[in-house]
């Protein structure tokens, strides 16, 4: 093997410019792959993060509806016509059982039981309809990162202290420490204290969301111990549909919604982006392979005399072809490493441009995978030239003249 490696290296060194050109060619190809691959993944990550970074991946609600009010007073409560009754989704009473069950799942990273309701904020003569989310701060933080996103005040929700969206605070002229009145659907009013304002980087949430303590919220809405939904985040958001499917089977009386179901269009866009990226990468690898193959094919012809001589002196067919396979491998390895350097340089210069909404990150695992594929392509590319060299007739090379 050492002998073959020595031959391969000397052959490559003897055609310096030829070797250099193909290495640069491979490097450019690998660099483009790394750049493109990282760009697409980072772009998708940023898109997905924007979509689901601060919301539940999977939401569990009760599967049953409940009639809250019939519209026609003449009709008895038992007799319902379509359209004559307001129904809302029933709350989940046995939520702590479900939470315990989900907590055992390995993929689950956050479980936040939530009681959601609507109310009116009245302050300084202005009314504003808002969404109340009753949560346990520690659990909700895992999904919404409220504590990290406070713009004023403290992330404090207990008793009558609530945190409110930053836009809402601004519009209503509320600052931390201020009081405001909350008008509940059942007609009651409660006075709350602003603990602070948060910015979830989502305008709808910022202008109409209020987080409160779950227990307090349950009391305000008279729901007993029930919650309206259980919000869940999982480690790999792209397994949401699988996991949701599993839970649909295993949990009774619960409606399971996953973000993928609700964002089909985004997913289609992402997957077509990925497949076009793979297509480009495939053709880059193909042209790398063909490039290496053609350089080696020329090299076999150029070195036919040397090969003949080596064979006359007893080099076996296997050994001869190994010399060329090693060259293919070496070209692949050298080109890949140069390509890794070049690719990371490209990413760095891209990231240093200002005003980008996201930065490209790369994963060493992917970078080395690409390098390994390019190296493997080198070995594959050398197979035909290697075969040719193995079958070369030494007498042809030694012939006088």
């Amino acid at each position: 093997m050492k002998f073959e490696l020595k031959m391969a290296l000397r052959f490559m060194l003897s055609g310096k410019s030829q070797t250099l050109f193909i290495i640069i060619g491979i490097a450019v190809g690998v660099a483009v792959q790394i750049f493109l691959g990282s760009l697409i993944t980072s772009l998708q990550d940023s898109l997905v993060d924007e979509t689901i970074g601060n919301s539940a991946h999977i939401t569990l609600k009760s599967s049953e509806d409940v009639v809250t009010r019939t519209l026609n007073a003449d009709v008895s409560d038992d007799l319902l016509f379509r359209g004559n009754a307001v129904s809302t989704r029933k709350n989940i009473d046995n939520w702590s059982l479900i939470v315990d069950e989900l907590a055992g799942e390995e993929m689950v990273t956050a479980i936040s039981p939530t009681l959601q309701g609507t109310a009116l904020v009245r302050s300084g003569g202005i009314d504003r309809s808002v969404q109340i989310k009753g949560v346990f701060l520690d659990e909700a933080d895992l999904i919404y990162e409220i504590s990290d996103r406070m713009v004023t005040g403290n992330p404090l929700i207990e008793g009558n202290t609530a945190v409110i969206g930053s836009t809402l605070a601004q519009d209503m002229g509320l600052e931390s420490g201020d009081n405001f009145n909350l008008l509940l659907p059942n007609g009651g009013t409660v006075r709350l204290l602003v603990g602070g304002a948060f910015d979830l980087q989502n305008e709808a949430a910022n202008s109409s969301l209020i987080f409160m303590d779950l227990r307090r919220t349950q009391k305000l809405f008279n729901t007993g111990d029930a919650v309206s939904s259980i919000e869940v985040q999982i480690r790999d958001p792209f397994e949401a549909d699988l996991i949701a499917g599993k839970w649909k089977e295993s949990l009774d009386n619960v409606k399971v919604e996953d973000w993928m179901e609700l964002n089909q269009q985004l997913l289609t866009a992402l997957s077509s982006q990925s497949s076009s990226s793979y297509t480009i990468q495939f053709f880059v690898i193909l042209s790398i392979t063909l490039g290496i193959a053609s350089v080696l094919a020329v090299s076999v012809i150029q070195k036919s005399k040397e090969i003949g001589i080596l064979k006359a002196m007893g080099t076996t067919k296997k050994s001869t072809s190994r010399i060329f396979i090693l060259q293919g491998l070496l070209l692949g390895i050298l080109g890949s490493f140069a390509g890794i350097g070049l690719g990371i340089l490209l990413l760095g210069s891209f990231n240093s441009v200002e005003g980008l909404s996201f930065s490209i990150t790369y994963q060493w695992r992917n970078v080395f995978l690409l390098a390994a594929i390019a190296t493997f392509a080198g070995a594959i590319a050398s197979v035909i030239p290697a075969k040719r060299s193995a079958n070369m007739n030494p007498m042809e090379a030694i012939k006088n003249g």
């Binding site: 050492k2 000397r10 003897s14 006359a312 007893g314 080099t315 050994s319 006088n400």
Partner: protein, 252 residues
């Protein structure tokens, strides 16, 4: 003890599938241990074909080839390659050194092929051989930085490194000037005498053939003359080695 090193019996070599050319036509030849023989003949007479076959570079279409008691005609490619590496030293007309390597590395090539790696002991032997061919001070030169004669002497050292039983040379002095030719010839002769290897040399050069132990003359794929040089008078021998064959000369 049997003194025979190599024996070919009724060797036939044909080329082509539709139009068949017979390059060797029923040739039987025997080469003894320590013999220094020349093969002469016009181009196309089958000299190189015979040499390649005796060197296990080629297989006969029919006939039998025995090296000592081993039958070469039945060997596969791998066995033939290993056989060449251990038993045959080749010297070619255009020296055929590998330009990517130094003189010393070129001499060591057959040992690398044999064992797959470098070996200190063999390196010492290679230096000895380079000294023997008078290139001690050029060992580290790249092959391309040597003159034609020097390159040919390196390739002689290379042919000897694995201590072969037989050295085959195809026009070893074919493109050398007369001074270099003499040097190379003297070298081959000395090695034959001192190291005891058999030599078989294809040549166009009357001076070399004249100084061989034995001359094999070929024409149209057959051996038409095979004699020991000491059996002939010097003037007669010189005549016989002329481009045309012996018989023709005599009758003329």
């Amino acid at each position: 003890m049997d003194n025979t090193l190599l024996m070919g019996q009724n060797l036939v070599r044909e080329y082509g599938t539709e139009v068949i050319t017979r390059a060797l036509d029923d040739v039987s030849v025997k080469l003894n241990v320590k013999e220094f023989a020349s093969i002469i003949g016009q181009s196309g007479s089958g000299k190189s074909t015979l040499l390649n076959m005796l060197g296990a570079l080629d297989r006969p279409t029919s006939g039998k080839l025995l090296f000592r008691d081993k039958d070469l005609s039945g060997m596969n490619d791998l066995e033939m390659a290993q056989f060449r590496n251990r038993n045959i030293g080749f010297i070619f007309q255009f020296h055929h050194l590998l330009p990517e390597f130094t003189a010393l590395e070129n001499v060591l090539l057959p040992t690398w092929i044999e064992s797959g790696k470098a070996d200190r002991k063999r390196e010492a032997r290679a230096m000895e051989l380079l000294e023997l061919v008078g290139l001690k001070d050029r060992m580290k030169n790249m092959a391309t930085n040597l003159s034609g004669g020097q390159q040919q002497r390196v390739s002689i050292a290379r042919a000897l490194i694995n201590d072969p039983n037989l050295v085959l040379a195809d026009e070893p002095t074919g493109n050398l000037d007369s001074d270099s030719t003499d040097q190379v010839y003297e070298l081959l002769r000395n090695i034959n005498r001192d190291l005891g290897m058999s030599f078989l040399i294809v040549t166009h050069d009357r001076h070399i053939a004249e100084k061989s132990d034995r001359v094999i003359e070929m024409k149209d794929g057959r051996i038409i003359n095979d004699y020991k040089t000491k059996d002939r008078l010097p003037e007669d021998l010189w005549e016989c080695l002329a481009p045309n064959n012996c018989k023709h000369r005599r009758t003329a």
